[in-house]
């Protein structure tokens, strides 16, 4: 039993290892040029070679993403609260939100560049507009799906709307909120990197763009890997946070 467990925990790493080996073998075996599709080893080499600049750009991308994400949380929770706590606002705003969300956010970057110029601000704003929607929808859903009986119990005691929201609505929507954070943080990275590739002089997106134009494919791939590692680490961070904060929601599934 214990052996099976350890096997399970190592399974993803083993899968990763196998993929890397197959990748390397294909690249070398078929003699694919580094300028087209670099193998893992050459990516590692370029990661080491350009460690300094990559770290600088990664930091830039990281903090713009986090700022955009923070704004996304604030706006997402605020809007979700408004939409979820009132039927009228739900009816009024929800279709608009869906419409807004169906705009490809990358298409918005040129507009942001005209307004704010090239650099950090459009990256932050793109990260923000791409990531707040799932938060809004989830918070609104958590608030709107409260059991009517429970509301009756409290209303009959003379509880105000606010009381019901604070005592029941907010804790109830917490699991939804944390679930949405995991989705949103990865989206936020997409937003900032897309903006950086189009309009920035800094950041992983910019690094990949300029490396690509110089045909330094291993460096482009190194950038990709750095982004995915950052996004994965943050995802994992919010997954752990979710478990810590709202354990009751997942544990109740296998309760009696």
């Amino acid at each position: 039993m214990a052996r099976k467990r350890t096997l399970e925990t190592w399974a993803p790493w083993m899968a990763l290892g196998i993929i890397l080996v197959v990748w390397e073998v294909i690249c070398r075996g078929l003699g694919i040029s580094e300028f087209i599709f670099p193998g893992p080893w050459s990516i590692v080499l370029s990661l080491r070679e350009f460690a300094g600049p990559i770290a600088g750009h990664a930091w830039q991308t990281f903090w713009t993403t986090m700022v955009g994400f923070a704004i996304g949380i604030a706006v997402g929770v605020g809007l979700g609260f408004i939409i979820g706590s009132s039927r009228f606002m739900y009816n009024a705003l929800y279709p608009l939100m869906v419409g807004f969300n169906s705009i490809p956010k990358a298409a918005f970057v040129p507009v942001l560049v005209v307004w704010f110029g090239i650099g950090t601000v459009p990256a932050i704003l793109t990260a923000f507009i791409i990531c707040f929607f799932p938060i809004t929808v989830n918070v609104a859903t958590g608030l709107a799906t409260m059991e009517p009986e429970l509301e009756d119990v409290l209303r009959a005691l003379g509880a105000s709307r606010m009381d019901v929201l604070i005592k029941v609505g907010m804790p109830r929507s917490l699991p939804y909120f944390f679930a949405s954070l995991k989705v949103s943080i990865t989206l936020a990275f997409v937003g900032s990197v897309v903006s950086e590739t189009v309009a920035a002089n800094e950041g992983i997106g910019y690094l990949m763009m300029s490396a690509g134009s110089q045909m330094r494919m291993p460096l482009v791939f190194a950038g990709l890997i750095v982004i995915s590692v950052m996004a994965m680490v943050m995802y994992e961070f919010f997954a752990i946070l979710e478990k810590r904060m709202t354990g009751w929601a997942t544990r109740s599934m296998n309760g009696p």
Partner: protein
């Protein structure tokens, strides 16, 4: 026994097209009377609860509780439903304390007197046999235990009026009978007024002083039957001829309604 709840020719329509959910209901419930309302499903029993608790105003007629016309939520009411609706992020004790965080005058001094209130909640949990489970979360309790906790929550602010909407419907037969006795004992002890909505006739006859039979929608009161079985009633009572005859009689009425 003065009238505690008074319905005079009450209609309630949820919306204009739907017609009345209940129609021309007049009834009086005395203080600390135990009333059960039975009827076929969809007869507006739950509507009745919304009227008494002040969650909805009647479309026509008046509802008076404790000598005053009901114009909004009454704070002297406790409610429990078929689902226990406990909050999964709160412990059993905190769930029971919830009403005290909301209803005045407890709300104002909740922080100061939390210890005292917790003691009260503990005592209440003990009377329903939940001692030792205060720190558990609802999902760690069985269905029957959850329902006990839910009843405690309905009673912790010492309401004058307890409204129960099919509280035992989702439980197995043994647990249900156990909880009948729990409710009977609580009521004997505290003498609050109870309105119990149910479609279990044995439950109604076992617990209530007076049973009202309601018709199909729009719900009207068809029959008022006083249950003369002497108290204290023991579960054994449910096997007596008198008890069985009363249940049969009510059953016939319901059967007639369903056919009509």
């Amino acid at each position: 026994m003065g009238n505690f709840v008074d319905f005079r020719n009450v209609d309630l329509a949820y919306d204009e097209e739907g017609g009345n959910a209940i129609e021309d209901v007049s009834m009086s419930i005395g203080e600390s009377e135990f009333v059960a309302i039975v009827g076929p499903s969809g007869c507006g029993k739950s509507t009745f609860m919304k009227l008494v608790s002040g969650l909805r105003p009647p479309t026509r007629g008046t509802v008076e509780v404790a000598g005053r016309e009901v114009g909004g939520p009454l704070k002297i009411v406790g409610m429990a439903f078929q689902n226990a609706t406990l909050l999964p992020w709160r412990t059993t004790l905190d769930n029971v304390l919830l009403p005290l965080e909301i209803v005045q005058p407890y709300r104002a001094n909740f922080k100061h007197k939390r210890g005292e209130y917790a003691e009260r909640a503990r005592a209440l949990l003990e009377t329903v046999g939940l001692q030792g489970n205060e720190g558990k979360f609802p999902w760690q309790l069985s269905g029957g235990m959850q329902q006990r906790a839910s009843i405690c929550r309905a009673l912790v602010h010492e309401p004058k009026l307890l409204l129960l909407d099919e509280p035992f419907a989702a439980l197995d037969a043994f647990t249900r009978e156990e909880l009948w006795c729990v409710l009977r004992d609580l009521w004997t002890l505290q003498k609050f007024t109870v309105v119990l909505v149910t479609h279990d006739l044995r439950e109604a006859v076992f617990l209530a002083d007076t049973v009202y039979v309601m018709s199909k929608r729009p719900g009207k009161i068809l029959l008022r039957k006083e249950i003369s079985i002497p108290r204290p009633r023991d579960l054994e009572v449910t096997y007596n001829d008198g008890f069985i005859k009363t249940v049969h009689e009510l059953r016939e009425h319901i059967g007639r309604i369903r056919k009509s």
